[in-house]
């Protein structure tokens, strides 16, 4: 039963990853400048064991952000992988900077968002998310390193067949780095997806430092600013 074709493994992993990671793998951590636009793509996914190799699950989103003011950026992310399944999945949110960096004390921002998945009138979901972020700028290019605590909330009390929904909170600690150019950003990010949940009894064998919990995700993002 476990010798499933690669596509099944990818799809099953996608279930876990797309459900438990946000629509946009890489969020807006640091707000854009006022009236600045940014568009980009994010690619990456959780690491799984496939045969003797460890490979990432391909996972793709298209992102757009707009600097409402210098401390507030609105953004939307369209999940291309989900679209390939015939679903419309969109994340809408905002990144708000709360504190400026003060020497070694990082700048702090929060990123509330909603993740909407729609297939038809019988199949749709709405997930609120909230990320707490801290980032440190350095150097003349203002590259920055960041950490983030991303939280995904399942509001449903019941799952199929009237069973109690066991998980309502999915936590994703994240560390990342953004290389910043005048017109572009390149991000690399690692996150532990759902370290509070068991990764056992799934078709996929996840590679994670926590062994039996969560999944380690590696994501890359490229953003063009204009």
């Amino acid at each position: 039963m476990k010798k499933n074709p690669f596509l099944l493994i990818c799809i099953t992993a996608y279930l876990f990853i797309s459900a438990l990671s946000s629509c946009s793998p890489i969020k807006f951590i640091k707000p854009l400048e006022k009236n600045q636009n940014a568009a980009g793509v994010s690619l990456g996914g959780a690491l799984i064991k496939y045969g003797t190799a460890t490979i990432p699950i391909p996972f793709l989103t298209a992102d757009y952000g707009y600097g409402i003011d210098s401390t507030l950026t609105g953004f939307g992310s369209f999940n291309i992988t989900s679209a390939l399944f015939g679903n419309f999945q969109l994340e809408l949110g905002a990144a708000k900077q709360l504190l400026k960096q003060n020497n070694y004390f990082p700048a702090v921002s929060i990123t509330p968002s909603v993740n909407i998945i729609y297939r038809n009138t019988d199949a749709y979901k709405f997930y609120p998310q909230l990320a707490f972020n801290a980032f440190w700028e350095y150097g003349k290019h203002k590259n920055f390193v960041y950490i983030s605590a991303d939280n995904w909330f399942e509001l449903a009390q019941k799952r199929a067949h009237e069973l109690k929904q066991p998980n309502h909170w999915i936590f994703m600690p994240t560390i990342g780095h953004s290389f910043t150019g005048k017109k572009w950003n390149f991000n690399i990010e690692a996150k532990i997806i759902a370290p509070n949940l068991s990764n056992q009894n799934l078709v996929v064998e996840y590679q994670t430092p926590l062994k039996k919990r969560g999944a380690l995700g590696i994501f890359l993002g490229y953003t063009r600013k204009f």
Partner: protein
């Protein structure tokens, strides 16, 4: 200022075109990935003929010589299968263990195999069932669903039901009656087993036995995602044993490994068992057994005793 605006317009125009192209591409690709086809897992080890005892591919277990069936009681043949919405029949392969001439008076276990491979992989299980109570006391019927083994066609949900029903038609033509038909399903095979026990098909089994059943496609999705997501996000399959079992009135036997790491005993098997509202039910939770090793973990004789007692006593 006008130049700047023109430049912005040109930029927006190019971006719009690119965006439009991407949207069209996405709409074109939209829905091209579904779990449906990939849930079926036939012919992991391809075969060109049925070898049964001489099969050398992976197996969950292999029986010793004491379970051997005489060659004269092993029959491999083709039979036509046609779903109600199909215009032509698909030729599938079936296997009968027992004396075909005495089907009119024998009790027969219709064994609906699981998702992997083909009848060679499940031969050991069918042979084990043919040893229930005593050697060849019960006939055992097994088929390869379309797309499995040497059966023609491609696996589909409706095909599962049509193929299992084709086997029932074959048995009925040989003289089997409803009161001597026992339906047994393992894993994916629990879907046709429950469906054909619950609804009107060629025959109405007198008993239903399920080994490691799954509850529904919804539970598979929700177990995999950890969230209460609709199955429709990923699959169009309507398989739903948890609901179908509510229509079953025949005596019901459930066996499931407590260590099943593919179809969880609590989210799948127990849901099916609890939803049964018929005349009689019994549960066998097997400690330390996984998805594919219940008979050998339970012990072959313990397993056969449980199966045999259910068939003869209820």
């Amino acid at each position: 200022m006008k130049r700047i605006n023109l430049s912005i317009l040109q930029t927006i125009s190019v971006k719009s075109m690119l965006g439009g192209f991407c949207i069209i591409l996405l709409l074109g690709l939209s829905g091209c990935l579904r779990l449906d086809d990939n849930l079926f897992n036939p012919n992991v080890t391809k075969i060109t003929e049925y070898k049964l005892d001489n099969y050398t591919g992976d197996l969950d277990f292999r029986l010793d010589a004491s379970y051997q069936i005489p060659d004269s009681l092993i029959h491999v043949f083709q039979l036509p299968s046609q779903a109600p919405d199909e215009t032509s029949a698909t030729l599938i392969y079936g296997l009968y263990i027992g004396n075909i001439d005495s089907i009119a008076s024998d009790t027969v276990i219709m064994y609906c195999h699981g998702n992997r491979d083909h009848m060679d992989f499940y031969w050991q299980r069918a042979k084990l069932l043919a040893n229930t109570k005593s050697k060849n006391r019960f006939g055992v019927m097994m088929i390869d669903y379309r797309g499995y083994g040497l059966s023609e066609g491609k696996p589909t949900e409706n095909g599962l039901y049509a193929d299992a029903d084709a086997a029932l038609k074959w048995l009925k033509n040989k003289g089997l009656t409803n009161d001597r038909l026992v339906m047994y399903g393992f894993s994916l095979g629990t879907a046709p087993a429950v469906k054909l026990s619950a609804e009107d098909f060629s025959m109405k089994p007198s008993k239903l036995m399920l080994e490691a059943p799954f509850a529904s496609a919804e539970v598979m999705i929700q177990d995999a995602s950890g969230l209460a997501m609709p199955a429709a996000f990923f699959t169009d399959l309507k398989i739903n044993n948890a609901e179908e079992i509510k229509k079953v009135q025949q005596p019901f036997f459930w066996i499931h490994g407590e260590a099943d790491d593919f179809l969880n005993i609590n989210t799948h098997g127990a849901v099916v068992y609890n939803n049964y509202n018929g005349t009689y039910k019994e549960a066998h939770r097997i400690p330390n057994a996984g998805h594919g090793n219940i008979p050998n973990t339970f012990g072959f004789q313990n397993y056969l005793n449980a199966v045999g007692n259910f068939i003869t006593m209820h």
